[in-house]
Amino acid sequence: MVLAMLFALYSYGPKSGNAPLAFDEMLTAEDLPRPPYKTYQEWYSAQDPAHLIQKSQDAESIFRRTGITFAVYGHADSSEKLIPFDIIPRIISAREWRKLAQGIEQRVLALNAFLDDIYHKQEIIRAGRIPRELIEKNEAFLPEMIGFKPPGGVYTHIVGTDIVRTGEDQFYVLEDNARTPSGVSYMLENRETMMQMFPELFAMNKVQRVEDYPYLLRQSLASLAPPGCKGKPRVAVLTPGIYNSAYYEHSFLADTMGVELVEGSDLRVIDGKVKMRTTRGYEAIDVLYRRVDDDFLDPLTFRPDSALGIPGIMDVYRSGNITIANAPGTGISDDKAIYSYMPEIVEFYTGRKPLLENVPTWRCSEPDSLKYVLEHLEELVVKEVHGSGGYGMLVGPTASKKERSDFAEKLSARPSNYIAQPTLSLSTVPILVNKGIAPRHVDLRPYVLVSDKEVKIIPGGLTRVALKKGSLVVNSSQGGGTKDTWVLED
């Protein structure tokens, strides 16, 4: 009885009358569990739904008490929100993960090689593989970085590659977040919460560890201290402050790494070093993990009105006395206009075909593409080149006629500001709903740590899930939720 109720909403068998919305990661079209979900599904079938709903509410109160909240810009009264957390894990097999990890590693190495090239010899431009104006007219390109090699030659210390799945073996990279990818604290807190609530599940499934992330991050950052640094490198996290939407994550990372959490007003350039004001006087910092955008980093070099940055830090950086992670100017590599060139970029620097595919992308700056996009708006997703967080985008198939025609106007007015992609049928996984479980679309953001010696990919990542039935928008700012992501051992 219980079983029938639980699965009433989640069945693709011949009698169900349901057709899968997309590739479902738990069930085949014949209603059989796929291998990684087998143990979980057996466990789940024996659960009392009311008990699971209770657990879900417990999870929410854990998150609220811990203060795992984010700020939504533009909402005056609701300044602190919880990201909804779904208690059903998203499960990935070791085999699937290996495939992903190889593809991500290749892509991240290519990104670093690309950045090094773009700020030095620019061979990829000379070879005619990408247009010069795409780089030099791009706001994310920082002339200040030309000819400068960051410590260890590493530009992107931390990367969060957004991946979507559309089939058994079909994965696409949606975005390369190479500036300051956020969300890793949710990966860790989600796991922590799941282990507290369902210890028995972790005894039944061999889930690969994500808990070492803060330790690995600190180690990775410290290993890239400037050459002149004597003794144990001093690492600090730079935050814009408590009103920033990701402040919880900044404090979480500083706390779990055991390093200082600093704001611009704590730092000052003294004797060619960046120093922080302590109760005992000023002390030097060797590695700064900054969660502040390039524009705000140094009012002397970039935006003069920035109160978040440190006047003169770019001079210290260029004279090799501090490591900034990620390096300024990395935004040129994850720009949405550059994205469409990623297959060429990967091939150019690694000499091999990309292991992970790019989503086909129309660059609206090109007249033919623009024409195609305008004619096929109801099939496409159109994004701003510099946008993020799901703002300013059009999801053609779910938008109203009026929304599409309004958007077409904006698009025609500034075509180079947009790219378009086909609406991918993102894979679905189960989430807990009032009446049991139901399939919803997801994406995945694994986190990657880069040092001069190795690329480490944490087995797991942040699964974002669109909570509304049929919705493809997973961004937390647009009502998406998160899940714990399990990568099983072999």
Partner: protein, 313 residues
Amino acid sequence: MLGRTANGLYWMFRYIERAENIARLVDAGLRVSLTRTGSTDEDWDGVLQSAGVRDEYVDLHGKVTTANAIDYLLREKTNPSSVMSCIDSGRNNARMVRTALTRETWEATNECWIELKQLLEKRVKPADLPAVIDTIKRRAGLIRGAFHGSMLRNDLYNFSRIGTFIERADNTSRILDVKYYVLLPAVSQVGSSLDNFQWESILRSVSAHRSYGWVYDAEYRPSNIADFLILNRRMPRSLAYCYEKIVSNLRYLAEDYGERHTAHDTADSIRTMLKRGEIGDVMDQGLHEFLEDFISRNNQLSVEISEGYRFYR
């Protein structure tokens, strides 16, 4: 430790202490209105003065009424010393210094904020007041308990404690100063029920109406009450007790850092004054003058601590 972190801890604990003290003041005021016949609006005038917000209150509401005064003290957004404003500021400081706090201390602070935000969302109905005040005191107590039970005894702890006791000394001295005239020998008519009532209300606002009896037995005497709240070193809200704590925490910092500041000398001299003081001398000198001088020296010390430990610059 960052200077900003020391500043954040110091103010976090000042605000939480203040929230609790304001709750006590409201509690004492409430008690007065329950045990008295006729209008009690005048008594609330005194409570607003003790909280140091009477002028701002008048700017907003004009006439003092019981309902408006309670609302102003508990939840007025424009009053930086209302309980809700204090808890907001305390929690904001806690968020800022999140990495310096244990998980227990942070969660106790955050839960306090979550619960009070809900309780104080709308005007509190008179029937709910006792329960709301009780919750404020209990939540503040839970923060204190989590803090004592889990924080390392290092410089973080010292700055937190110094904030608590600077604030408490300020509060106690203000409560006394507003009512100093009822403690003057010349005007007091020993045994009159009006005075008994005033004195009890002073003691209640520092939760000391019972402990007074243990220490001085007998009936209320103005000089004993003044002695209890100013010079008694066992009374946890007295000025002398606060300065024992301030001095010892500053001493730990000096030893830890190997450096003394002007603040150390200032604190030492205030402590010595309180230790050697006799209540008779204080009364002879003038209680009001004594308290005014104390409040300004206490403020001066706060400034010197923020300079010595680079809170802002």
